[in-house]
């Protein structure tokens, strides 16, 4: 029993290690540790009662299924098949090699005092895991940077190796030579896994396309709204221009009649009049045209047009041409969307207030300032990033947590959060090169 116990604990340790490594460690997974005892007991019974053949079959099955489970979990979390295969294969390969190395290092690996052996094995294993920390980190960062094609090939090789490793006890029980039977079973399993690989790849691609089409549709709708808005503003502007001409005419008549008192009177009335403000209107939304990246323009249109313009004072400042050159804007769009959503939600809650949006160019950066009226925040700002804390009461504060998670994934993006005089301001500094 002790052998199985050590084996399964080692596997569990490796899985924990790699999950921690990829920052995907769910605390619930610790619960699995409970199953270590029954599993070890079952395996020991199988080994003793049913003979080695059945035992090998069952344990291989167990390893294969845990491999696929891990694979599915990682693929679901990361939405990247190659990375999932790479990580889960790495788990099983390192587990296999580390435990074989430790077993071969000890002279009588499984003889003597049980507790002592257990302790020795597991502590050696932990030490080995600690030792491979830096090489693994290097490997993972290499993998992340590698080209798509390279990632695919590496993951396929890793998959093959890990399946061979998992099935090694099956391969080598009985005689050492490989029979046709065994080879064909291995081949069948490999084929199944490869097929799964390509199918899921295709499926993910399909999902992504669907998502893209959805976004495009939304942007299209927003563009339609935007066009309507612009047309309306244009009409207002035309009207103002018309009024303006009339004004000039009446001014002219005052001058022609040399009625300077009347002129002064008329002029002061004019200045306080709404005519000039009508001329000023319509300079806000059209500024969005200064943004070159369509998806960013789209999200701004969508969110800004969602705010009813009667109660809220919206100020947009995009005075220069804004172009996020080589940057991948997918995550940026999400970040801007979250900031705007939070601002708009707060304003809707207040019923009135002011929203400021500014985009500006710096030497190597683009700075986005989004500022909204906000009711008093009675706790330290850093709490806003904690899950579940929000200015809007309970269980709605995930926005800022997600925002800081997104920003942590982006290179050269800095967030500044300021709360001053009832204004809540988020400043994003984004380097153009990414």
């Amino acid at each position: 029993m002790i052998i199985h116990f050590i084996e399964i604990s080692e596997l569990l340790l490796t899985i924990f290690f790699f999950l921690l490594f990829t920052k995907l460690f769910p605390s619930k997974i610790v619960l699995i540790s409970i199953f270590v005892f029954p599993y070890a007991w079952l395996m020991a019974k199988l080994d003793a009662v049913c003979g080695y053949r059945i035992f090998v079959a069952i344990s291989t099955l167990f390893y294969l299924s845990s491999f696929s489970l891990l694979l599915i979990y990682l693929a679901q979390k990361r939405r990247n098949i190659e990375e999932a295969i790479f990580t889960s294969s790495a788990v099983f390969i390192t587990n296999y090699f580390l435990s074989s190395i430790i077993n071969s290092l000890l002279i009588n690996p499984f003889e003597g005092n049980h507790i002592k052996i257990l302790f020795l094995h597991l502590s050696l294993f932990c030490l080995a895991l600690a030792l491979i920390y830096f090489p693994t980190r290097f490997l993972f960062s290499w993998f992340k940077r590698a080209a798509n094609r390279k990632q695919q090939i590496t993951s396929i090789i890793m998959l093959t190796v890990s399946i061979l490793v998992i099935m090694n006890s099956y391969l080598f029980y009985g005689e050492l030579s490989l029979s046709i039977e065994k080879m064909s079973i291995i081949a069948a399993i490999l084929v199944v896994f490869f097929m799964l690989f390509f199918i899921s790849k295709q499926y993910l691609f399909f999902l992504e396309e669907k998502h893209k089409i959805e976004i495009r549709n939304k942007t299209y709708e927003a563009t339609l709204l935007y066009t309507q808005e612009i047309e309306e503003r244009y009409k207002e502007l035309r009207k103002a221009q018309h009024d303006y001409k009339n004004l000039l005419l009446s001014l002219e008549s005052y001058i022609l009649e040399r009625d300077y008192d009347g002129l002064t009177d008329y002029f002061t009335r004019l200045k306080s009049n709404e005519v000039s403000s009508a001329l000023n209107m319509g300079t806000q939304l059209p500024q969005l045209q200064n943004i070159v990246n369509l998806d960013i323009k789209g999200i701004l249109m969508m969110k800004l047009l969602a705010l009813p313009k009667d109660n809220f004072d919206v100020n947009i400042e995009i005075k220069e041409s804004i172009n996020f050159m080589n940057r991948d804007t997918v995550l940026l769009v999400r970040a801007i969307g979250i900031i705007l959503d939070n601002a708009i939600e707060e304003l809707m809650g207040l019923g009135s207030g002011r929203l400021d949006v500014a985009f500006m160019n710096f030497e190597e950066d683009i700075v986005i300032v989004i500022s909204n009226t906000c009711k008093e925040i009675a706790f330290p700002l850093s709490k806003l990033k904690k899950e579940g804390v929000s200015t809007k009461g309970d269980d709605r504060g995930f926005g800022l947590t997600i925002l800081s998670e997104i920003i942590d994934q982006l290179n050269g993006v800095y967030l500044e959060t300021i709360y001053k005089n009832d204004q809540f301001t988020q400043v994003l500094t984004i380097s153009k090169e990414g």
Partner: protein
């Protein structure tokens, strides 16, 4: 001594602005001179380019009727004169207060639609510029950092603590009412001033902002309500 520069494309308004500035300096006896008033932004740039050891006050129109506007001019001025005071003169529809504030750190903007209010606001701005000069000697107590290519400054007295973020080398600076991210080495932060102490591998706190220390749980409570961890080694620093 402050040097005042005015750049405005409308000759009439330029003359008005110059007159207001001249009379204000004389009446209030500010330590300032009107160095240059011009319609050409490049003349202004040439003037300040090779000048050393001066503090400028710039009164700029936003629309200059040339290939650069007032905001770009201000950004260029910032290359030569980092601490100068920039004031924008603008009409209502050109107003861009966030851009003024964040891009060129302008202290204020004056809306020129109403001549009487404009004159009043300009006087107030000159007063602020004059007061800023007398505070200039406090400058050693400012922590300046680059956020990307943007420069941010904080008074030491405003900084509550620094914290490392999940991204390597990224630091979050906390004041009473703001959080700012930038790249820095945390071990260099405790060297900027003796009042900053490294109380944990991921925290550098301002000693003057400590509200209470909980030695039993090794926590320190700061004036903005946040709590930081304290490492065993750093306990002696806090006693």
């Amino acid at each position: 001594m402050l040097n005042v520069y005015i750049c405005e494309d409308d000759k009439k308004q330029l003359a008005d602005l110059s007159a207001i500035v001249r009379s204000t300096i004389m009446i209030e006896e500010y330590d300032m001179t009107l160095e240059l008033s011009t319609v050409n932004p490049y003349e202004l740039l040439n003037e300040i380019q090779d000048k050393k050891n001066f503090i400028g006050v710039y009164i700029l129109d936003v629309d200059l009727n040339t290939d650069i506007d007032g905001i770009e001019l201000a950004a260029k001025i910032r290359h030569y004169d980092v601490s100068g005071t920039i004031i924008f003169v603008t009409t209502h529809e050109e107003m861009a207060h966030l851009t003024f504030k964040y891009k060129v750190e302008a202290i204020d903007y004056i809306i020129k639609d109403d001549p009487i209010k404009m004159s009043h606001d300009l006087k107030a701005c000159l007063k602020i510029a004059n007061e800023r000069q007398s505070h200039e000697n406090l400058q050693e107590d400012i922590f300046t950092v680059k956020v990307g290519s943007r420069r941010r400054s904080f008074h030491y007295a405003d900084i509550v603590y620094f914290e490392t973020s999940d991204t390597p080398h990224k630091i979050i600076l906390h004041t009473e009412n703001s959080m700012t991210e930038f790249y820095y080495q945390i071990k260099d932060l405790e060297k900027i001033d003796p009042r900053f102490i490294r109380c944990h591998k991921s925290f550098v706190i301002n000693k003057q902002k400590i509200e209470s220390v909980d030695l039993k749980n090794r926590l320190v409570r700061l004036s903005n309500g946040d709590t930081c961890l304290v490492s065993v080694r750093a306990i002696s620093k806090l006693r």
